[in-house]
Symmetry: C2
Subunit: 327 residues, 2 copies
């Protein structure tokens, strides 16, 4: 089994969190190769009392640098990690570092799947019926209508392959359920989605449908999608903060809080973005996962598991198959 | 004191909820005039044991009709209500009926404030620092950069006048804090907002800042704003549903729930859209409030109070003043 390549230098808490997450994933059966400064990573592995293969990368793209630096710094950890996939030595890549640089490295290093104009980020948001697959969650701020159809096909392939959703339904994010409601982009994309024979198109959905779980896949441009993702995460944090405050607002509430603590903790965990670890960049020719810079070890572990699973289910091939089907 | 004109035929629960809300608002000191079918409203008032002035309107715009029907049905309740404001007989309008028709009736009947290209809907979203004023929450799906500057000015005037916020800060909703992050609209609007001397422009904000309360006023196009508003409301409902489930998931949790019930109920109430009642349509020459079709009596009451307050603080004049200031 090919390992997943982890950009071990990426993220606010690297290399501590990346190495710790890699060791946990490895113990859970996921083969991992660390990519980064071999000296630094060897020391960190020793400190944590573990052992994992390392591929040396002499450079790193810092958060404040421009994404195009991946063109210049050929030896950056993200470039080396992507090259391992290209060369068939790794099954996928996970990075908690510079998101733009990861996208650029994947695009330049692996290339797009035929039929994909723009790779897109897929986010999983907890919903009342399980989860909602949101695509694009931030890769493309401005989109053409045809991009949204490709996003829909990729989101459908992901839901089917990774979570075995049967015939996933697709909704187009808009400001009213009726086909004539929306902005110019949505009005133009709606009939294209409706006409596509390979999609189970539900029609327009609204903001409230994201957590309600009205459809499996929600398609939108990367601007709206990124706002949605960050609002969904931010609001969950805000409400849990308020719930904690409410539970300490009186002696009576504090007593009750002791009894409900465990039940609420399980819920908070379900809402925690770290459960999902990182987000796949859909549409490039290999599994690439982009994580939060603030990722902790658990997020790294979950991202590595998810990336490994994407390879196991041959997601890239399934996206290719679906894109080759007649619209 | 001029009364607020209530489109008493509008909304899913009219005339029961509209009349009940009007009676409550009246008891709280808000003068109200009911607009609609005089026979129906008289009967409803008798049933509820109250008395309020009625202005007869022989027609109504039904939810399934097109907004442009306001041009044809001159005797529709929303048209009659708007005309009362135009004729100086009412201080403002509240409608829980057809939103598009209310906007059209206000636009045709009252007209725009000079300097406003597009009226916009302002929504109030609870935040960790009180509330966030979101504008545009749905009136204009496609916007030009200059519209966003006008929205910022109107949002600033509202926060100052209605809630006495001192020097409200304004954020531009985007997908990264840096000025170079965003879609074409945001990239073009950013320097205009930055250059405006009458605004306290904070810069870009992200989805997470909506409930965090990073700024007072968040400016965005009506597509993104409507998605944000409906997601914010929908997610709050979803999380409270999950909290209720968690609190009944075991005997232990159920016992604790008895003790924390009151504290959580106060929180749920704070998150309830009915607290805000309805949303003002900013930029027309009179206070117009647009409510949820599903509004209950409490939402109607709160909307009437808010509309009355808008008249008391001379909001329209304050928006005019601010728009006349040099940019």
């Amino acid at each position: 089994m090919k390992p997943v390549a982890l950009d071990a230098m990426g993220g606010d808490h690297a290399p501590h969190a990346t190495v710790a997450g890699a060791l946990s994933a490895h113990r859970a059966g996921v083969p991992v190769v660390l990519v980064g400064d071999a000296h630094v990573l060897k020391e960190e592995l020793e400190r944590q009392g573990g052992d994992l293969p390392i591929v040396h990368a002499p450079e790193v793209i810092r958060m404040e640098e421009h994404a195009t630096e991946v063109r210049r710094k050929r030896g950056a950890s993200i470039n080396v990690a992507v090259r391992l996939v290209k060369d068939g030595e790794a099954s996928g890549v996970v990075s908690m570092g510079h998101s733009g640089a990861t996208m650029a490295a994947a695009l330049f290093g692996l290339g797009r799947i035929r039929g994909v104009d723009r790779p897109a980020i897929l986010a999983e948001i907890p919903s009342e019926r399980g989860k909602t697959y949101l695509i694009d969650a931030g890769a493309n701020a401005d989109c053409r209508p045809g991009f949204l159809v490709q996003f829909a096909v990729m989101g459908t392939a992901y839901a089917e392959a990774v979570d075995r959703v049967m015939e996933p339904t697709v909704g187009l994010l808009s400001i009213g359920e009726e086909a004539e409601k929306g902005n110019e982009l949505v009005l133009a994309a709606h009939p294209l989605l409706r006409a596509h024979s390979g999609l189970r198109f539900y029609g327009n959905v609204e903001g409230r449908d994201v957590t309600r779980g009205t459809v499996d896949v929600i398609v939108t441009d990367g601007f709206t999608g990124n706002v949605v993702l960050k609002l969904a995460e931010g609001e969950a944090r805000t409400i849990f903060r308020w719930v904690r405050e409410a539970l300490t607002s009186s002696l009576r509430a504090r007593l009750g809080a002791l009894l409900v603590k465990d039940a609420l903790r399980a819920l908070a965990r379900r809402m925690d973005p770290a459960e999902y670890g990182a987000m796949p960049l859909m549409g490039v020719t290999g599994p690439v996962f982009i994580g939060h810079g603030a990722s902790d070890a658990r997020a790294v572990e979950n991202a590595l598991k998810r990336a490994f699973q994407m390879g196991q289910v041959h997601l890239v091939e399934r996206v290719k198959d679906r894109l080759e089907q007649p619209a």
